[in-house]
Symmetry: C2
Subunit: 418 residues, 2 copies
Amino acid sequence: MKQKSAEILCIGTELLMGNTVNTNAAYLGRELAHLGVNVYRQEVVGDNPQRLRESLEQAFSRCDIVITTGGLGPTYDDLSKETIAAYFGRSLVLDPPSLARIEEHFRLLNREMTENNRKQAMMPQGCTIFPNPNGTAPGCAIEQDGKLAFMLPGPPREMKPMFEHYVAPYLMEQSDTKLVSRMIHLFGIGESALEHKLHDVMVASTNPTLAPYAKSGEVMLRVTARVTQGEDGESLLAPMLETVRQAAGEFIYGIDIGSLQNAAVQKLLEKGLTVATAESCTGGYVSKRLTEVSGSSQVLGYGVCTYANQAKEQLLGVSHSTLETFGAVSSQTAKEMADGVRRLSGADIGISTTGIAGPLGGTEEKPVGLVYVGVSSKYYNHVLELHINPRGDDAREYIRYIASSHALHQLWKAANMA
Amino acid sequence: MKQKSAEILCIGTELLMGNTVNTNAAYLGRELAHLGVNVYRQEVVGDNPQRLRESLEQAFSRCDIVITTGGLGPTYDDLSKETIAAYFGRSLVLDPPSLARIEEHFRLLNREMTENNRKQAMMPQGCTIFPNPNGTAPGCAIEQDGKLAFMLPGPPREMKPMFEHYVAPYLMEQSDTKLVSRMIHLFGIGESALEHKLHDVMVASTNPTLAPYAKSGEVMLRVTARVTQGEDGESLLAPMLETVRQAAGEFIYGIDIGSLQNAAVQKLLEKGLTVATAESCTGGYVSKRLTEVSGSSQVLGYGVCTYANQAKEQLLGVSHSTLETFGAVSSQTAKEMADGVRRLSGADIGISTTGIAGPLGGTEEKPVGLVYVGVSSKYYNHVLELHINPRGDDAREYIRYIASSHALHQLWKAANMA
């Protein structure tokens, strides 16, 4: 069977106006990729039948499958079904089971069903109907002349389960390939340097493919293989994973791990270790990111945010003479903060940050962006000196984020060595 | 001048594959609406020159302005500039100032600049270049035959400031009116309740207009007046601001203040007060948000993140019997944490959080989403009980964010009362 291709067409003026972020398109893109369906375009149009019709015609001139979201609701400007049915030359007919479900929905909510809700049970003639247990508007599929349209509701909590329970099985039945992929997470190398190392591999790669993704201070590499039924995806992926490991293994902190904080918490759990944080310039960013991870309460009992020198002395036992001689932003202070919080808490690993996040407070000797990250543990003691380029409008946020990433990476490293 | 219309064209395979949610399109939609530019379509294509070219041609057949994001990076698949320049019949030429900025960027990072980065300084002939202080790829505008294309970088932290500092003024200059606006920040009222109070005003408003914006747990109202040269915007805005104050004044915490943390820090500075935080379920989120604000070191000396009960007792002096009798997630513990951190630090105001952020750890009696926020000060002592609806894919993040917002709002309130 030839490779299917699809376009995603999201309908809603609230998306165009930016009142709603289009998470549906991202979800559908991800899910369709996994099903082996190529998506070459996403489009957003408002609740306007003429522009929707144009977009639909253009989309079907380029691909086999169009998935729409939105415009199935009860109000006068919800016109997706009418427009798409008309494109296929079909009329809308009442679907009694859908009407019964909508009536039931209102009965359960103890609310009166207004007349315009009947509109939601009017479905294109001959379509396959998808019930919507999470809302009132059913979805549907229309297949005709090699063209396949899916109409899904707009709210993500209605759309996603409908895709999972009806659309994915519908497509799976038609396909003989699927995609398997791995996301490799790296830290400490830039996107262009990584590409430099792997450029030839990226360009030459076809199955699996290798593609870089950058996010603030981190890089990821996605390895994706297309496999037919019965073929072993893992064995297709393995040689590429090995190539990446050989080229940049020292920078890899995890595969499919999601984030530095996930990697750090997972490594601590795995090794049965605990951590305590002592933050100055990051002001709680490290503990905030660690505690994003469910289960982090098992590894993080204590964190302190010691912005003031007095707090550094009183809570962490940083010596007055260290602060006097070297200053709060110094390698020595970072070390004593990490040691201090480890001692105070009894944790296995102490992590500290002290630096100048700006925009004020920099000097020639200690400029904005200078940050020290301290690690204290039985196996690994280190102070990292960072010079973070204070760039952009929100340099303060950037410096603090990058500093917290380095702290999490140092924590992961310390746990990994234990 | 006739009303301009624009399309947004986002370029990036990571958007099509759903690895990145397209927040850029929402941002641009919102900002363009604010500038009075109509947006009828958003489109996403991958890093594919042919499909980009097709989309560009179609877009310009429908509208005057196309704004692209993405594809300006250093790698071989970043082809936006080449493709768009070719559409306008222009070649790329080296822009020495852009190259100098990119070289400086790598020098500051102490990283070697690889050859492919030079590509980012190659710009379409005769374009207007927008420097990018937040990254390496500059943006630009090309204007020709009544068509106007803007090319902006993909990462939101580079794209947004470029839009604000270059694109918006560029568009405004072509217009003979300008917009003046005020953002009213409210907390403690939902968008629909606020809309209910002000529905008639919103619908009837033309100049100034009144429009609601919701963000996680907060609502903002934007009052916008369109003024011609020489007209006084302030006097147009004043009556509308007064109308809003009368309808919902009790929920307003600031105008053009940016965020709860800005409002809180500003109020503390104004009153010469200090604060200390004691966080359990928010794990540093409150101190992280407070220390986002430059100058916060003058008001926040101490923060502790006491995830473990032992830490609550040892650092904050929460009594063992309180923890035994009422549990860590209780009004009593929240009160003792706030009192404790205030005593420990000597700060004027102590703020605490304790709750169940989930997804695990909830019980029937104390479900996920139950959070207590404590405030301790000379003038205002209070424990707030919150029942945060654990909704969405990332309920944990949502609960922690909303809890930290309430803590910041309570802090603002305490400072305001002092």
